[in-house]
Assembly symmetry: C2
Homo-oligomer: 543 residues x 2
């Protein structure tokens, strides 16, 4: 009995202690976030800098300040936790990306995206792992076993979807954006499979069965994750359509959408699926069905609220990575061998460059073979941009590195510490250097991008471009859909000549016949007279 | 060096462990939140039940289910933490209340609200403390010292502002809402002063100086908290007006408003001020200035996003309190003396009833003395409702009880455990019984409330009532303001006869002459042609 209460007292004491520390760190972080937004806005005209780079630098500066004020004791306020990253920061970013993605562009390139994300990641993984096995031995890093080398391959094959969102613009380069970002999402599913496979890795069973298992595993994971996301999205659409019809409440609608999306992510996490893939597809389905079932004010609110949450999470993430990079404890281990650390980091950057080149160019060639029209092919300039824009490594790599090298055990202290600091070095280098050079590279290689569009690119999604884009996209795809129906007759021949267009055609038919009547969607939710929108407009007109 | 890495390894192992547990608990909570929203909607026609009561019951049921599945080991997934409550749940609720409050109604009753919140809480505190000293001795609760009795007085004088939001409707009974809710906000400042005073409590210095210090402390705290909130609000208005003018970005505007409000709360928390008061005034200032400086889509987004966040936080809170109530560890201590526990809880409920009656009726009488017009006076029926609607005790009481009785030490195990369970009993009882009976009581005592309004009361703020209310309020106060200027001339005589109206008049003059030109506000931000709203409307018309 008394021990129970003691636990109670202890835990409450801990809670009170953590209370003050967390108040201080939250205050600091929130203040820095405000600073990032204001500074990011002031630097808006600058074509190199954006909020992310600002956040990264502000994080580094804050780290230095804390380092100096605490006299070298600690540079970080919050310990990098996978929890914080995977449970709180990543879901809003990926969900918003799915919610705002141009669905047509995405699905049109679906095969290429899957090819890049699955096979490409595997190629990159193989090359980085083999390169690490071949080159690291000279560096005398301590005893890394085969599992560690494979883990290194997986860590540095994990692309950073969040960075992609920052450097590529959906309006400016829709094709490249959908390809590189979509690849990043599929990449996550591949990474999960690879990590599970590495943990079960066994040299004795390294045969054809293992490879088949790996492929089967990937297909299973890809399928279940996607279905889970789609089901969550459809469920939200159905609930809002059935229950709320005629008496909409914005608070409840927005809450339900937000909570259902988050629930899908957490369930995927719980079941060991690719939660990124799940929440991405949940976002796509929600924007296709649920979003059309809610009131006008809910539509505006969700669009902007999700974007805002994603925006804050992104800045927070970069701030955090910047601050975490200066963690003194990690650097203590490598301070006696700086040359080795620099060498290792350079090697890794080289392997990342090679690993990506090794699949982007061959797979683009393969993808071009299936396409007849020269406009649909990926030209060499686009290939270079795809290669370059996907080079950034981010918080996912850091989280995986912690997972592998801080947990592996006490025996390889030296090698482990160096691997973690090298990962951070690669992440910082790739984010800053590759990130900064992507926009100029696009301007150099694709000068035909419309001028007014490229001036927009330095703008983050503003409400102007945002709302108008929304309307344009909606009308645009409606129009195109009409064109499909009228000009091109559905035929079996079409399925052979233009498979992706024909799949799209049949999907639209199915969507209109079965899905939209059941789950709602554009044009399938009758206009409610006297709805807030109408009132709102009337009031405005009377005004 | 090795110990450093060991710490790293250990903390990362802990993180991984906590990872799975937190994924499970978050999944469960998010799922339950969805269930609460859907069930709450289905029960919408019911005049007794709302989302909060649903959440409370669902929390209790889940607690029972977990209790049965874990075979009596644990009923809770998350430990009640002050962190979670004070840092994450409370700020959005109170900020949203300040953001959506009817400012005119609030400031018109400002004196009465402050009287109730400050002097009233003090009276209630005194009566409950004296009652506890007099009555508890018979229950043989172990050795509670004077500090404990005073803490009991403070714990049970802390009203639950969140419950007030649930049972009183701003549209139906604006006067009562502003009075009871406003009182709850001021109550928080008083509670902070009382708690600090109790901690420094010293019988030797219990003299006039101490009382003066107490009053001085309250005035200082009230003033600084309010000023901090106002400064944060004005700063956000200024930044958005100056920096963003002409090239608005919804994401940034919404982020800045959200982050600045949260920052004000955290700074107040850090400085030991009344953070509730701070964020409440920040909300008021933001809705008066900042909200008018942002784009139309930001306005809709902020209105609904803040309301949604508050809505989710409220449901979460009730779910949490319901689930926490069944924590088996706490009840083990009182299982051998159930009669004593029931007796104590009943005594406390009685004291709460008395303590509130002891200030509502006398202070209403006092307040009525200052008012000449009979329509402005608080009639006896309204007094009964004010008394009744403020009886609920909530999570603040639980948090304070944990703070006092789980921290106090190991010496008074028995008395401490019983105090915590009794607090939970009182909170559950008052929330369910007083909460459920408030609406019927209002219907009984105030039958003249318009019928269409009272049908609305079972609705939570829906976008229909919401947007139209928004427009009505805006236009309404504009119209009224005009009336003031034209009909009633500013004169010194007015200051004597109608002080509050005259204060309002001078405030408007000052606001229009100095504040709005500097910080923006309705009518002081020129319409931007081609703004998203306009485009949006045009597109709709063309459609």
């Amino acid at each position: 009995m008394s021990s129970n209460l003691e636990t109670l007292v202890l835990s409450s004491k801990l809670a009170v202690q953590s209370d003050y520390a967390s108040v201080v760190s939250i205050t600091l972080f929130v203040g820095l976030l405000c600073a990032c937004i204001v500074i990011g806005h002031l630097l808006e005209g600058n074509r190199w800098i954006n909020e992310s780079i600002t956040a990264l630098f502000l994080g580094l500066v804050t780290g230095v300040v804390i380092l100096l004020t605490t006299k070298g004791k600690s540079s970080r306020i919050l310990v990098f936790s996978e929890d914080l990253f995977f449970i709180y920061l990543l879901p809003p970013i990926i969900f918003n990306a799915g919610f705002q993605v141009k669905k047509k562009q995405f699905f049109r390139n679906f095969m290429t995206i899957t090819l890049f994300g699955a096979l490409g990641t595997l190629i990159s993984f193989t090359i980085i792992s083999l390169g690490a096995i071949g080159l690291f031995k000279r560096l005398n890093l301590g005893s890394l076993d085969l599992g560690d080398y494979l883990a290194i391959g997986a860590i540095f094959s994990a692309t950073d979807s969040v960075c992609t969102l920052q450097v590529l613009n959906q309006d400016e380069t829709p094709f490249l954006y959908s390809l590189v970002f979509g690849e990043g999402v599929v990449n996550d599913a591949t990474s999960v499979v690879l990590f599970n496979a590495i943990q079960k890795f066994d040299l004795v069973h390294m045969d054809a069965v293992f490879v088949v298992q790996l492929v089967g595993n990937f297909i299973y994971l890809f399928f279940t994750s996607t279905v889970l996301g789609a089901v969550a999205g459809l469920l939200s659409a159905y609930i809002i359509k059935k229950l709320y019809f005629g008496r909409h409440s914005t608070d409840r609608e927005v809450s339900l959408m937000m909570l259902m999306a988050y629930l899908s992510y957490m369930i995927a996490e719980l079941l060991g699926l690719s939660s990124i893939l799940t929440v991405f597809f949940c976002g796509i389905v929600m924007s296709h069905y649920t979003w059309h079932n809610v009131t006008e004010s809910s539509r505006i609110t969700t669009k902007h609220a999700f974007a805002t949450m994603s925006f804050i999470a992104e800045i927070f993430l970069f701030l955090y990575v910047g601050m975490d990079a200066l963690d003194i404890e990690k650097w203590k281990f490598v301070s006696d061998s700086p040359a080795k650390s620099v060498g290792l980091s350079s090697l890794l950057v080289g392997l990342v460059l090679m690993g990506r080149a090794a699949f982007v160019f061959p797979l683009s060639f393969l993808s071009n073979l299936t396409k007849k029209s020269p406009t649909e092919k990926i030209n060499i300039r686009q290939q270079v941009i795809i290669w370059w824009a996907g080079l950034m490594r981010g918080a996912v790599s850091i989280a995986l590195a912690y997972n592998q090298f801080a947990r592996a055990g006490h025996t390889q202290l030296r090698g482990n510490a160096i691997m973690i600091t090298s990962t951070i070095t690669v992440v910082l280098f790739s984010t800053v250097v590759f990130g900064l050079l992507t926009k100029p590279l696009i301007r150099l290689l694709l000068p035909h991008v419309p001028k007014h569009m490229s001036s927009m690119s330095s703008d983050p999604p503003s409400p102007k471009s945002f709302l108008s884009r929304l309307l344009e996209t909606g009308q645009g795809s409606e129009v195109e859909a009409g064109r499909f129906d009228s000009i091109e007759p559905s035929s079996f021949r079409m399925l052979l000549t233009k498979p992706s267009k024909s799949v799209h055609h049949y999907w639209r038919k199915f969507d209109n016949a079965f899905m939209r009547p059941a789950f709602g969607g554009r044009g399938f939710v009758p206009f409610i007279p006297g709805s807030p929108t109408e009132r709102d407009y009337r009031a405005e007109e009377e005004h």
